[in-house]
Homo-oligomer: 281 residues x 6
């Protein structure tokens, strides 16, 4: 992650959370009181964002955090993940934002790990999608990696992914899909990966023959997936998407797909329960 991106996210969150300062700390707490706190796991999970958590206090100033557990590590309830020490006002000022970030990231990493575990023994990779929280994609993508997943393209700028709606526009414009793929390849730089989504078996040959790097089989049944993979015959990577959940992902993986994309990793992960227990220095 770019340090500037992380700082930008934290500074915006801090500004949002206290446009005029923290009236509680200022009115209640002695200016020079110190506090010491521990970030404690209240449920098991995979850690992500511990550096972001610590950075919140660094940016506030007057408080510092020591991280005791590294990102991508599995922990049990009661584990102490980091400690924070500093001015009581600073610690309480940063508490909520620091928790919001690390809870969200660890929630994503933990959910990702469950998907990754579910496909153990297959060669399928679990990847994320663009269904991320607006403004937090860099953090959420990192959380997916911490959970053992891999990232799909970061943005619309760094790889082609032509989906059903793109194909519909081509159809309406009278442009054969194979021609469009070849023209795109011709226009694009050589580093740009081309992936095309299909939702029917009979579309596969045209797409693969035109020379894509990856073909996405959307909402295929396991039987269709196996048939599709046979048609592709190694000429492109195969990605499965749609209808993927913890109940279905293992069977999909066993069909032999290369990649399984799971929107839920980022759009529906639950914040993990981590708490900041404050003792008094």
């Amino acid at each position: 992650m770019n340090p500037q991106t992380v700082d930008d996210i934290i500074l915006r969150a801090l500004a949002e959370d206290a446009p005029w300062g923290d009236v509680t700390s200022e009115a209640f707490l002695p200016e020079h009181a110190r506090a010491q706190a521990s970030l404690v796991a209240r449920e098991p999970g995979i850690l992500s964002g511990i550096g972001v958590f610590a950075r919140v206090f660094e940016l506030i100033g007057d408080a510092t955090a020591d991280t005791l557990v590294a990102d991508a590590t599995r922990f049990e309830p009661g584990a102490v993940l980091a400690t924070v020490e500093g001015s009581a006002r600073a610690v309480l000022r940063g508490e909520r934002i620091a928790l919001n970030l690390v809870q969200r990231m660890s929630g994503i990493a933990t959910l990702t790990a469950r998907y990754v575990e579910a496909v153990t023994g297959t060669h399928a990779r679990i990847v994320d999608t663009r269904k991320t929280t607006p403004g937090l994609r860099a953090l959420e993508r990192r959380a997916v990696r911490d959970g053992g997943g891999r990232n799909h393209r970061f943005s619309l700028s760094d790889a082609v992914l032509a989906k059903d709606n793109h194909l519909a526009v081509l159809t309406a414009s009278g442009i054969p899909l194979g021609d469009a793929i070849r023209a795109a390849r011709e226009r694009l730089g050589h580093t740009t990966h081309i992936e095309v989504e299909v939702d029917r078996l009979d579309q596969i040959e045209e797409v693969v023959a035109a020379g894509v790097d990856t073909i996405m089989l959307d909402n295929f049944t396991p039987a269709e997936l196996r048939e599709g993979i046979a048609i592709v015959a190694g000429r492109a990577l195969v990605e499965a998407s749609g209808g993927v959940n913890l109940d279905t992902v293992a069977e999909i993986a066993r069909c032999g797909v290369d990649i399984i994309s799971v929107g839920a990793l980022t759009h529906s992960a639950r914040a993990l329960d981590l708490g900041l227990d404050i003792e008094i220095a």
Copy 2:
């Protein structure tokens, strides 16, 4: 919501999603192709963020959205919530961001409505917390209102909420809680609401006697809540927090509390399933 805040969120999301443009649209789609699309509900829910959805296309330009259903309205699967019309490139450019925002907001509104419904017949109000997505608080707070909830303080700047950790600092500093409350009241402007959290019955009298506006009873059992309310005796509003979920909220409400705060409204709501179905103009 401030229009500037909304625009700022959208523009950042658009930049994040395509730092160098949308290579798929540019390489695949004819420059002058048009598209028409419908925002369709795939599950029932309460709408929130329909104006934000529409604004995404307005900011991109070359596409416009008509909203057919108002925020805070309940809808059924299949309902058409809005239509979009414009350049195919612009519609596909905005699709993901527009969906990410309206799905998240509607998810929160829908979850909030379930809580509000669960306490029907009591005088308890469901309110949110500061456990919001960093950078999106304005949207998420609006979504809570659209779901029939009410907002707690917006930020650390606009009301005092002294929690367990603040109390611990006071104890360590040898400052009696009642004194601290009276001193804060003295220092603060007259419009600043003072709320103090307690987690034991024996703390209530000191807090209420010192003159708070609201007392928060954290993680009290129903029996303790009733006893606490009796002690407060109308001298302050009573807020219940902790251990609140859809199974427990009704019983908590029936204890007679004024306010029930629910972190889950914003930190664990699932994105609602809304889709953009694109036809070709």
Copy 3:
């Protein structure tokens, strides 16, 4: 004050004051010359913004300031309030901006203190208004506190204050004021203070009966203020506004109002005369 807000104000001021650098220092002063300077009071007053003054040099770099007197302290002409040491170019680069800020803030604190002193012995509190300098509200509100005043709501977002123009809109819309107050209370979160301004005695009962937290009596004569307070009868805080100046404020306070708001604190305070006397290291 949020440190980020302060830094943002200073950095913008520095950029405004030298979009292309300081041609005088660069063309006139040897690159390695050092300077030492003292911030000296040329008239008596109450100090405010000494940390902001020092922060200017910290942000420029190559110079540092030591503060010798704390904010909210009264000083006499000739008092040395801070010293600055560093590169001559840096000291002279920051001089004007640092002075502009501390002079303005101390001017406000000093004026506020005169009002506060004038109401000594009454229980009235002097508060500011939203008539602050655009972009500098955080600093000016702090200056009011340093002068012994208290802050009214910080912004339109953190408390309701319905004024004559709001009431006029209600009238035109055929909405009784009491109904509007009750509806607002119902819609708003429990931490939001509600204040309503009236300019006639006969409006008071309806407003207070509807349940406001504060009633503002605008441009009332002392006799009317006393009568108004009697009608309110402790059911709400009473704020006086309008026609408040150093000649009238004591009498207004003696009427028994709780709060007196004074726009002049921020909109018409004179910059205090503080100078930077530079010696050569």
Copy 4:
């Protein structure tokens, strides 16, 4: 003024004044209520910033302002300077910011006009200084022009002004002032004006002989000013500064100086009393 600069100032002021929206308007006013208002003078003055006033409502949207009087025009109490029409919420949202800006600018223009009037019949010009409100220099400089004054250099970047402190650094560095001036002229671009401040008669010859464009005589008595002007003998423009107020400015002007700089124009002008009278459409 650059339109972007003006917009930037307004947008920051609006954000500062309502980070989370205007709770009063939202809770009290019917969403579709309209309002009409007039900007009315409550005291005589010179108008400045009427376009800024109008732009506030344009940026908020849903309201528009018509300006009836042009900047730099003198008006009497009761004069209607502009009208505003639009959504009641938008009009009330913008009222305070729009007033804060136009009151401040008109206050500066009005004060400037008094100085300009006081020197009528002499050839002295009244100019401002860098003692402006941080962040608002563009507006305040425009206000000075609207009041009939002229602007000194805009910033540290666009002209040299070597003051007492610069001279002290030179002395400490053992650099003769004349040498420093000649070296600066050599290094600087040909469009950069060079002005040097002196506070003693015996410094004048060296400065003028070295080739400055303007010499500033700081805190000179009228007699000294006349003597100084005689020494300069037309070889440079002469600026008087220090001790300038409405009581002294005429005599200073009659000494024959070319320019009189007055810090008070911007650092101590009082906001002019203009009000927004709202009728209901």
Copy 5:
């Protein structure tokens, strides 16, 4: 190009070029004077950035441009490429910035076209590098496309390109190159293209065998290029870099490479001579 990126570049350029407004226009030109102007080619070339040119005036306001020639079109001296009409102040305010941008972009497009032309008849593609002007990459990349070239990766984020310095770090760390490539492939998402630079023939087999998408042969002689291509044997794309100029590019292309990267396209292109001829409306 993202419209926001273009606007951001223009607005920054306008602010840089007139922090306090355009004193010439304001002091010299009547406020209501109109002007009409033509963008005229003073030398032959390929157009790029005509939309950016027009957008400058749109953002200034009070002036509009009509584009007469499309980007990527070849033109001769004397060709009228666009016309501008509007307030004389606005036209002159925007002239320099609009010209700076279109001249630079057209210079790049024109130079690119010379390279593209030079390799006609081969299947080599001319691509750019990251040697772009800081802050203007989006514009310069577009100019390369307008000149008939193609873009290499946009940034460090969207494709791997391991260069000599990366390889040196690996060596120092005792990591075999093939292992590093395989590990990177394992870690990276499936859409990320992997390219590795080598500068000796004996490095090729290890790199290609490890599975890169493109191999860059840096500073190879034509003979070495041919030998290298034979070793690669179609297992990866081959990019030539280093020592490429208009004298050498054709021979390099005839060796059979797929891609030729040319830093000069962006780092050393000369601004094309285009002028704005203003008539008076």
Copy 6:
């Protein structure tokens, strides 16, 4: 140069170059590998921007640069200008941006020095123009100074320069040029330099008589320049512009002009060839 301006340029360049981080370094390089590098001249030139080069690594963090040669110094091929030491990832992350900036600035300084050298022995000064790279003017102007040139006005805000197009507008508006100059002088502050461009000998007398500070003779032949200078007769500075290149500049200078402005200094300078040679620590 303002440190903030420099930082702003670098941070934008870094963000542009890696919106999502550097995938090559992250996937290829061991997290803890260190690197040491030297900035080496591959051709002779004048150094400019060495501080900017170093600042890139400081802003990235985890790497630092030591500068061995000062700006404005002439160097030979092979000269080591700076060394960099730090984390291998940080060094490679910053390499391209740091080089892009110092190569560009040194290219400008080197070209400027050639012009300055060409006019040695005359009293003409070489100055730049506003034909700078949008967003990089501060750096490019500094590079001109490092090359021995001087800067023309920085922006439209800090000096008047009325060019052919301004004169055309005046003509169309029926305003005599002399009147316009006198009116501008009257309106402008005393520090604002006034320069007017003419392209015919018969325009000179009116312009000079009206009292300009500099007259620009545009596209005059040497003979015309001499005649023009005779007409001006010392009443204003004389600037030559148009048709200036390394072949013509000496003759132009020998005509006796004071200033020669050269757009090519910034709009067509070639990036100087400097390389970063990385060894492994």
